[in-house]
């Protein structure tokens, strides 16, 4: 029996795994020490727990534990990486290379630096699958370039970028490479060392850990990456991020990494199986649906589809016992359809019709089958109500219509 409502929005956040909660609990009550208290057992206990977490987190990305800087989450990690590098290396240059489908934490950090006159930024385009071309990265690099910031995998369409090739180019050109790896860590193998990444942002709550904790991995050798902190204070985290450590959160984040690392291989197979089942089920039942993102270079749990002639928010409303998200303008705060979907160069109408399914650890085959039926039924109902579907059925080319709204 399927349990409702179904949560299938695991790119937005994930529930905390009960094993993670269990690991965290003592650090709220009995083991509540400040990890920076050097002179009593409460502090030592907390520090020990933080050190364990550092190891667990470093292990999942192939880094060293002392290279982990704890933050409040990946947004802070991205801000620290980008603003910290630009500030520290300002004598060397002021140019950043990034890409149009990056997370807002990256794009808006870049925009702030542009506005402040501290950096110039090249926003690389992506291909129709949402992938950046490493050669474009190479061509964009100038003698003023101090940072490349390209994400590992996209949060909306799941496309996995050719990170290792970009890392190679970065090394060749001697440019620091920051990678927002929030959606990739714990889902697919990530090895910061081998991938040639210099700064790597990650988050606890996307991998069944708690919210409010994240990390920035900062390469210490080959090259040693330096940052100017954006938060000043007691000099925690080797001076790069002051503030009392969120010990329970860090413990949970560490435990979440340990679990994800142990289960990743098996879980990735299971999740892509579920995702493929959902995709096949919907394509079998409905015509004129389109896959957004890369057909193969894609996160295992991600499926992003556009249902032509149906507006995304209205579809979400119809499947109200299923939690997914939409690239529709109506679901965003800005009233603009998803900039990620639009960057793929598809029709604007299809951006309004896009739905992101994010499968996760707690989804089952029953969930997938329920969602398949529910979405099919609702898309059919809404198409019966859609003037665009009617016009298309009558053989009218929607592109030839002179819409009066312009």
């Amino acid at each position: 029996m399927v349990k409702l409502p179904i949560y299938m929005d695991n790119h937005a956040t994930t529930p905390v795994d009960p094993r993670v909660v269990e690991a965290m609990l003592p650090y709220f009550t009995t083991k509540f020490g400040n990890a920076a208290s050097r002179n009593h057992s409460f502090g030592w206990e907390a520090e020990e727990a933080v050190d364990l977490a550092r190891n667990q987190i470093a292990a999942i990305i192939g880094g060293k534990s002392k290279e982990i800087i704890f933050t409040s989450g990946a947004t802070e990690s991205d801000n620290l990486a980008i603003k910290g590098v630009v500030e520290f290396y300002k004598e060397k240059g002021n140019h950043i290379v990034t890409c149009v489908t990056e997370h807002k934490a990256v794009l808006d950090s870049c925009r702030t630096l542009e506005r402040q006159g501290k950096a110039t930024v090249t926003y690389l385009p992506v291909d129709k699958y949402g992938m950046v071309d490493p050669e474009d990265v190479r061509k964009a690099i100038t003698d003023k370039t101090v940072l490349i910031s390209i994400m590992y995998a996209n949060n909306e369409i799941g496309t996995i970028h050719p990170v290792r090739e970009i890392g190679k180019i970065a090394k060749e050109k001697g440019v620091i490479f920051h990678c927002d790896a929030v959606q990739a860590v714990g889902k697919i193998p990530v090895n910061a060392e081998a991938d040639g990444i210099d700064l790597l942002a990650m988050s606890g709550h996307k991998i069944y850990g708690p919210k409010g904790v994240g990390a920035l991995w900062v390469r210490s050798k080959g090259p040693r990456v330096r940052l100017t902190p954006i938060i000043d204070g007691g000099g925690h985290e080797r001076g790069m991020r002051s503030g009392t450590l969120n010990v329970p959160g860090i413990v949970g984040f560490g435990k979440a990494c340990e679990i994800a690392r142990a289960e990743m291989a098996e879980e990735a197979v299971r999740l892509s199986g579920l995702r493929n089942r959902l995709q096949a089920g919907l394509f079998e039942r409905l015509d004129e649906i389109y896959l957004n993102g890369h057909p193969t270079e894609r996160l295992p749990g991600n499926l992003n589809l556009s249902f032509a002639y149906v507006e995304g928010e209205s579809l979400l409303m119809g499947i109200n016992d299923v939690a997914v998200s939409s690239g529709s303008a109506c679901t965003s705060a800005t009233l603009e359809p998803s900039y990620v979907i639009r960057a793929l160069g598809i029709d604007e109408e299809l951006a309004h019709s896009s739905i992101r399914f994010g499968l996760g650890r707690f989804n089952t085959e029953e969930d997938v089958d329920y969602v398949t039926e529910r979405v099919t039924k609702e898309v059919r109902r809404l198409r019966d109500m859609s003037p665009l579907y009617e016009m298309a059925r009558e053989g009218i080319d929607l592109k030839s219509v002179h819409w009066k709204a312009e």
Binding site: S314, A329, C330, L335, E349, P387, E390, W403, K404, E406
Partner: protein, 146 residues
């Protein structure tokens, strides 16, 4: 965002969904909005020789509030004279459906759809636009306001 009960009701049980034949001389058809804006409303009104709206049908591509706005409008205009219907303001729709500020454009689109449909009927009947009591042309071109 939570939807009002009335929006949910119209979304789940839309009134007067469908199409009339465009060939029927008594039918006025208004299509407003644009796919790239995420809203397209088609409103059709069956208007008798006395200018009274006898029936209405709609089809809408858009969010739940757009669907609800058009569904409500089909109920609202039925039985009204076109002079009365053309004077309907979007604020009536906002109030009835309890639309939040970000959804006001849905009500504007529905208002435009009424004007476009009546304008179309007048054109087909050969009624000069100047006969419009307020001299107001069809505002179909104003679209969703996005």
């Amino acid at each position: 965002m939570a939807y009002s009960d009335k929006v949910l009701d119209h979304y789940n049980n839309p009134r007067n969904v469908g199409s009339f034949s465009k060939e029927d001389p008594d039918i006025g058809t208004g299509v407003v909005g644009a796919p790239e804006c995420g809203d397209v409303m088609k409103l059709q009104l069956k208007i008798n020789d006395r200018g009274v709206i006898e029936d209405a049908r709609f089809k809408t591509f858009g969010c739940g509030s757009a669907i609800a706005s058009s569904s409500y409008v089909t109920e609202l205009v039925k039985g009204k004279h076109i002079d009365e219907a053309i004077a309907i303001k979007n604020t009536v729709i906002v109030k009835e459906l309890n639309l939040p500020p970000v959804k006001i454009h849905c009500s504007v689109l529905a208002e435009d759809a009424i004007k476009a449909a009546i304008g179309d009927w007048k054109k087909r009947k050969g009624v000069a636009q100047a006969d419009d009591p307020k001299g107001e042309p069809s505002r179909a071109a104003t679209g969703s306001g996005e």
